[in-house]
């Protein structure tokens, strides 16, 4: 969340509510409605760390709002974040551990485990292709995100097939 807010502030100064709107606009429904409280908490921490600078602006008939802008250190942090390597593909390591250990427990067999995981993946996939979801158009960023998720699920399902072939 910190990097996201810093990246949004890199364009122009904004107050908390504007940042919430920008988040919604960019990620669309792919991002669970950001909690305004969480945004303010995060902004407070960033200010404490000297990455943003807050300034109160007085408004008539409304409470003051606090507009934030990036400090040079904040700008550096954004550049650093963009430069850093993003994390590579993640296996569902927890499932894999279960799969590896299940014969030792004697509590269930691998086929059951694989089937359950497959159902889970399929259900997730179904959820991603529900009508009204961004895959049907609209926000392109969100569509790509969903597409990515589906492809990951597809890969997971294929991997499950390989597990099935190799281990049962």
């Amino acid at each position: 969340m910190r990097s996201v807010l810093l990246a949004l502030l890199a364009k122009e100064s904004a107050h908390g509510y504007e940042l919430k709107q920008a988040l919604e606009q960019t990620f669309g429904p792919a991002y669970p409605s950001p909690n305004i409280g969480q945004i303010y908490v995060t902004l407070g921490r960033l200010e404490k760390d000297g990455l943003v600078r807050g300034e109160d602006v007085t408004q008539s008939n409304r409470p003051n709002k606090r507009v934030y802008e990036l400090t040079p250190a904040g700008r550096e942090a954004v550049a650093e974040w963009l430069d850093a390597r993003s994390e590579g593909p993640r296996l569902r390591s927890e499932f894999f551990t279960k799969l590896a250990l299940v014969p030792l427990t004697g509590a269930a067999d691998r086929m059951t485990l694989i089937n359950r995981q497959r159902r889970h993946c399929l259900n997730l996939m179904r959820g991603l292709s529900q009508p009204g979801q961004p895959a049907q158009g609209g926000n392109p960023i969100a569509s790509l995100l969903v597409e990515g998720a589906r492809l990951h699920l597809q890969a997971d399902l294929e991997w499950l097939e390989r597990c099935q072939e190799a281990l049962t």
Partner: protein, 252 residues
């Protein structure tokens, strides 16, 4: 078989009992299907998944009556396929079954319009009815302007859409599709899947064989085949615990 075991004609669209298929090739027997019991009700949308060689396509060919089973029984709308001659199975297909394959779905020497009208004509419709049905289907699929084209002039996605129209031309009770998106890119795949969902919403029973989870997830029920046997048979529904499933993907 005792009468009690015999399913009532209206109860099931497809019922199989201990279905076995052995291919003979190069002197060795390949057990493609090793005992499958399957029940599909009218209106269901079933996907059959499994790794290649698991017998997915063989199941579909058996259900369509395109190849005879080695042993076991298949009932389609209450008729037992093994009771029918090859010609009777052909008649059953033309009346009640629409088939879509991965490749070669269209008769190369006929125009798109002729391809779509052919099954309707075969099922006994007169040319006028067949034409109206074709016009409706091609309109639905957005291919009205390609009616006179030769199949070779269509893109892969267009061909599969026409194939779907052709399979639906005789208003079949059962649509069988064998890897209908097998050679399509993701955009075309999405189009075909959307069409399947549409006809399913109108009450069409569909059994579809695929290795593509994205296609399979459109079905209400996914059957997993492994080594000629059903290893899982699950209803698919979107996760109910999270109303906004997509929202859970992005973890900021």
């Amino acid at each position: 078989m005792s009468p009690a075991e015999k399913p009532a004609p209206d109860a099931a669209m497809i019922r199989t009992k201990d279905l076995v298929k052995v291919h003979h090739s190069d002197g060795t027997d390949v057990h493609a299907i090793r005992g499958i019991d399957l029940l599909v009700h009218p209106g269901e949308f079933v996907a059959v998944m499994g790794p290649s060689g698991s017998g997915k396509s063989t199941v579909l060919h058996l259900l369509a009556g395109l190849v005879p089973a080695t042993s076991g029984e298949i009932w389609l709308r209450g008729s037992r396929l093994s009771d029918l001659t090859e010609a009777e199975r052909a008649v059953l297909r033309r009346r009640h079954i629409g088939v879509v394959f991965q490749f070669f779905n269209l008769i190369s020497n006929m125009s798109v319009a002729d391809n779509v009208e052919l099954p309707a004509l075969l099922a006994g419709a007169n040319p006028k009815q067949a034409r109206e049905r074709r016009e409706y289907l091609l309109e639905e699929l957005g291919l009205s302007d390609r009616a006179d084209a030769s199949p070779a002039r269509l893109s892969g996605g267009q061909q599969q859409r026409v194939a779907l129209a052709r399979a639906l031309a005789n208003e079949p009770s059962l649509l069988l599709a064998d890897e209908p998106t097998g050679n399509l890119d993701s955009t075309n795949t999405r189009d075909v899947v959307r069409l399947l969902e549409q006809v399913h919403d109108q009450g069409q029973t569909i059994l579809l064989v695929t290795h593509d989870a994205r296609v399979a997830s459109a079905a209400d029920r996914v059957i997993s085949l492994f080594d000629g046997m059903i290893v899982d048979d699950a209803d698919v529904r979107p996760p109910s615990d999270n109303k906004n499933a997509i929202g859970s993907i992005l973890d900021l």
